[in-house]
């Protein structure tokens, strides 16, 4: 039943709805594939096999009883470990939360369950979503299915790798500065950061509250849209959740498949997100894609966003500042690990210090220290205050750009997947990898990454980023689906069908044993 894992969520859904395939069969096929490949890839931190099969059996029973279920009922899904799940450990990739099982579900998780999706497990990530490579996970790296010596992107490397390696057709991610889109780009999958406030953050372990947004990860634009429709919409438990009623993203994606969907669409190409620092193959595929768009009737204009230059700097003040406060609660008192100091008295202060010293990784400590400093009396105006002003300027840049264009485009990341360790010693190099994705978070606008080819020089996936005005998420799905269709028609296949076949790890083991 390997073929079941190769299906899109939409295709699998059709088989489930018509009862040609049971949810138990679909779930077992994916769990078998996880067993076969994930010891090597390590996309999952936790696999809930029994619970998934039980849930699937219940879905089958309900469908057999004639209940009308969400079309995605019975489709397996992987959940980033940043989201609270009451039946699975939730660690956010950190030692400090090792073994913690929340007493509640994040709103998006509750909505998945209500729709009948089957949670397979929790996916690896950079600790507290701080990173662009998943190398900062306290539980080891996740390997890129395209090249096991390379990073799967980050922070949501686990979700992207799980989807790209066919361990799950869908996954949830969270995107603070690109943590959904950049992993999608470097693994050849699709990832969407919705409009800020479009999807509930309740139960998503906060990195930077004003930037975080939960979103879908998938292998096609339409699949992402289906998942977006399940998780999106107002949640009274998240005060920053928008009260708007949203159009169907799935319908928007379908609209993109019609002839002439791109005709007259004004595409703004951001001048500042090109040139120096962009890998040649990335630029080449981007230029080719734009040519394809022109041929399909889109109008390309170059737009300038002069303040994007300051985006990374502003981001690395706002994010650490908010994170330093959000991560204060990890103190050993109510949940998570507790570490007593080697010497000295066991005061709460000493125990908190020892716990945080042992429980947080180096990158987390670096950002807490940066943020604490940026918020300090006497520095606030110069750092946090100035960064907020830059944020306003970037929002104005977007407003100006969107007055000339319906959507904005850039490469999703300046490079293809880099090798493990390549940027670990140089935080600035790591931070700059998110130069393309950070502006959307600072402005709260939605962004999507879809694959646009392989870079000729290394044969690795390259992502196209599409951005739309706030609340115009549907436009992303229409345009994204249209471009995806054009590209796949030109290639004659989907991007991920070209990923190297993964060898089951059991075979590695027996081969080694045979030596």
């Amino acid at each position: 039943m390997t073929y079941l894992t190769k299906l899109s969520a939409a295709a699998l859904s059709e088989l489930l709805v018509s009862r040609q395939v049971s949810a138990v069969e679909a779930t077992r096929a994916h769990l078998d594939h996880v067993t076969a490949v994930d010891t090597d890839l390590h996309a999952f931190l936790h696999v809930a096999g029994d619970a998934a099969l039980n849930t699937a059996a219940k879905i089958d029973a309900r469908r057999a009883a004639g209940d009308v279920l969400n079309p995605l009922a019975g489709v397996p899904i992987a959940i980033k470990d940043v989201l609270a799940t009451q039946d699975m450990p939730t660690t956010a990739g950190s030692k400090i939360l090792e073994g913690w099982v929340p007493p509640y579900d994040a709103t998006v998780v509750a909505r998945l369950r209500a729709a009948g999706l089957i949670p397979l497990g929790k996916t690896n990530m950079d600790e507290f979503a701080m990173g662009s490579s998943t190398e900062h996970s306290a539980y080891g790296v996740t390997r890129n299915p395209w090249d096991r010596d390379r990073i799967p992107g980050g922070s949501g490397g686990g979700s992207a790798a799980a989807v790209a390696s066919f361990q799950a057709p869908l996954a949830l991610g969270s995107d603070t500065g690109g943590s959904i889109r950049q992993p999608a780009a470097v693994t050849g999958s699709v990832g969407v950061k919705p409009t800020y406030g479009g999807v509930s953050r309740y139960g998503a372990i906060a990195l930077a509250s004003s930037l975080d947004q939960v979103g879908p990860v998938s292998r096609s634009v339409y699949d992402a849209a289906l998942l977006h429709d399940v998780i999106g919409g107002h949640d009274p438990l998240d005060s920053t959740s928008l009260t708007d009623s949203w159009p169907s993203m799935a319908a928007a994606a379908q609209a993109g498949l019609k002839d002439g969907a791109l005709k007259g669409v004004r595409v703004g190409v951001i001048k500042e997100l090109s040139g120096d620092g962009f890998q040649a193959g990335v630029t080449q595929r981007f230029t080719e894609t734009l040519a394809l768009l022109v041929a399909a009737g889109a109008e390309i204009t170059e737009v300038s966003a002069p303040n994007f230059e300051y985006a990374v700097a502003a981001y690395y003040l706002i994010l650490p500042a908010e994170a330093s406060s959000n991560l204060a609660r990890f103190d050993s008192v109510r949940f998570g690990i507790r570490v007593n100091p080697d010497s000295g008295s066991l005061t709460s202060e000493h125990v908190m210090s020892a716990t945080r010293e042992a429980g947080f990784g180096a990158e987390v400590k670096r950002r807490i220290i940066l943020g604490t400093y940026a918020l300090s009396a006497g520095y606030y105006d110069a750092y946090y205050g100035s960064a907020q002003k830059v944020r306003t300027l970037i929002q104005r840049d977007f407003a100006a750009a969107f007055s000339q264009a319906d959507v904005l485009m850039s490469p999703s990341a300046p490079t293809t997947a880099f090798k493990f360790g390549e940027k670990l010693a140089d935080p600035m190099a790591m931070y700059l990898n998110d130069v393309t994705t950070i502006p959307a978070n600072l402005a709260g606008v939605p962004g999507m990454s879809i694959p646009m080819g392989l870079a000729p020089e290394d044969g690795l996936p390259v992502g196209l980023q599409i951005m739309a005005p706030a609340k115009a998420d549907a436009r992303l799905y229409t345009v994204g689906a249209a471009i995806e269709q054009l590209l796949e028609a030109r290639w004659g296949h989907t991007m991920l069908s070209q990923a190297p076949a993964l060898t089951p790890t059991e075979m590695f083991a027996s081969e080694e044993g045979a030596v």
Partner: protein, 501 residues
């Protein structure tokens, strides 16, 4: 500092001018907490009123309680404050185990209310206007209980327990401007100011305003300025002074202590101080400088608020009569002497007396019952007087006394019946058979029997020795089981003694 080393209060005032400031926390009595749906309830089992948000669990997010905003605005208006057109929450970052998120969600730059004042009247009749700098909203911390030590304090404790039921309960912190010119009245100003805040909060109905339950908590700032100097002295902040009398004592103590330190050539450390109710002294807490860095920044999980002017004006219309004005009006209407009125106010029975009068009782009778028998019973039972009977029940009881149906002594028995839940006063009178026997026939029969049974007494009465009637009256009252009007019995005894054969 032992009390013996304090400087004499009058001497301290000769050398120094006290400058005061108060931060009063008022706990709002909303049904649910400030930022989540958990019950705001005193006395529940430890950690039962909690959820991911108020426990600070990973992923928890705040939602603003609209009722708390409304109460804060009403409190701000009652303090004569401006209500901000734009207000927002800010995070006050510090680590402490009773603060689940390790930051308090408070307000910094943009408090909901600012720039108000209230005028308080001292016992001497002196009026003092206290300027209010701001009133801001924040969430309360949980409660720590230190276990294993001898004192219940953190020093010497083996471990501490924390109950987060109070964590996230809405507070309004009211901060005064510096109060100068207090002079000898400084301690009384402290007490009277806090009493006024408490009274306003109670009148608005926004807080239960019980200091003994921590609904109103006061931090008292005191500094001394040497006479002739225009430089402010270093201040101390005495935390959590939780009764009116303690506020008065703590301010007095700090004036005397600081004066002794300064006169001895010492310096005052800017610090928080703990108030010790038992010994009546303060002790050093933690150093507190103006540079204390809480790394405030706007709370990104909550949207800024913009209370509409229409809403604010609507709320202004709901404000009750200011308590000070109400007191003046009621005292005049009831004709109470100052001491009588103070007794009512201090016993927290103003509302009860007012409602009883409204139900038809005379003011004096209402006062007498509430501050007398009912207060006594409440005190014995350890409950609030107004929880025992309703003003309507008391008014009905008083009416029975006024009509002569009950004597005071019988009325006290009826009151016990009412408190015991036996029904209305009239029902208790019926069921217990307590009405005054006003049937002269029954009385005359009893009197005749008594007179004839004691011929010597009858002879004495007939001889004009009227005081001898007492023995007969006693016997009659006993025969009637107390249910007779003694005055009427006396009349009839004299009448029958003259005519009986």
């Amino acid at each position: 500092m032992p009390k013996a080393e304090l400087m004499d209060f009058d001497r301290a005032l000769e050398l120094f001018e006290p400058v005061l400031g108060f931060e009063v926390h008022v706990e709002l009595n909303t049904k649910t907490k400030m930022f989540c749906g958990c019950a705001n309830e005193f006395g529940s089992g430890a950690n039962t009123n909690t959820c991911p948000t108020c426990l600070g669990l990973p992923g928890g997010l705040p939602q603003v309680n609209k009722k708390a905003i409304e109460s804060s605005i009403r409190l701000g208006l009652a303090l004569g404050c401006e209500i901000a057109e734009h207000s927002r929450f800010a995070r006050k970052n510090y680590f402490y185990p009773d603060t689940a998120k390790n930051f308090q969600t408070s307000q910094y730059d943009d408090p909901i209310a600012h720039d108000g004042s209230i005028t308080i009247e001292l016992e001497s009749g002196r009026l003092v206007t206290v300027e209010i700098e701001r009133a801001h909203m924040e969430d309360d911390a949980g409660k720590l209980t230190h276990m294993g030590g001898a004192t219940g304090r953190i020093q010497g404790a083996d471990y501490s327990l924390v109950d987060y039921n109070r964590g996230g309960v809405p507070l309004v912190e009211i901060v005064t401007q510096m109060i100068e010119g207090a002079e000898h009245d400084a301690p009384e100003i402290g007490k009277t100011y806090v009493a006024a805040i408490r009274e306003i909060a109670k009148a608005l109905g926004v807080s239960n305003a019980r200091m003994e339950e921590g609904n109103v908590r006061c931090d008292a700032n005191v500094s001394l300025r040497p006479r002739g100097s225009n430089v402010l002295g270093t201040r101390t902040e005495t935390k959590n002074v939780n009764s009116l009398r303690s506020v008065e004592r703590a301010v007095r103590y700090e004036i005397q202590r600081q004066a002794a330190v300064l006169a001895g050539g010492g310096t005052i450390t800017q610090e928080t101080r703990h108030w010790h109710e038992d010994t009546g002294i303060t002790s050093a807490g933690r150093p507190k400088s103006d540079a204390d860095d809480y790394r405030y920044f706007p709370e990104p999980d909550l949207l800024p608020m913009a209370p509409s002017r229409d809403w604010v004006e609507e709320l202004r219309l709901t404000l009750p009569e200011p308590p000070a004005a109400r007191r003046k009006r009621l005292q005049a209407a009831w004709g109470f002497a100052n001491l009588e009125f103070q007794d009512v106010v201090n016993s927290d029975l103003l509302d009860a007396v007012e409602a009883t009068v409204a139900a038809g009782a005379s003011a004096q009778a209402a006062r007498k019952w509430w501050t007398g028998e009912i207060a006594r019973l409440a005190n014995a039972a350890g409950v609030a007087a107004d929880s025992l009977v309703t003003p309507a029940q008391l008014a009905a009881l008083i009416e029975l006394v006024d009509a002569g149906t009950l004597t005071d002594r019988l009325a006290r028995q009826v009151l016990e019946g009412v408190i015991a839940g036996e029904g209305t006063p009239a029902e208790v009178v019926d069921s217990r058979g307590l009405a005054v026997v006003s049937d002269d026939g029954a009385l005359i029969a009893a009197i005749d029997a008594a007179l004839l049974g004691q011929p010597d007494v009858l002879a004495k009465i007939r001889d004009g020795k009227v005081q001898a009637a007492g023995a007969v009256i006693g016997a009659v009252m006993k025969a009637m089981r107390g249910q007779a009007d003694a005055a009427r019995v006396r009349e009839l005894v004299l009448e029958r003694a003259a005519t009986i054969e």
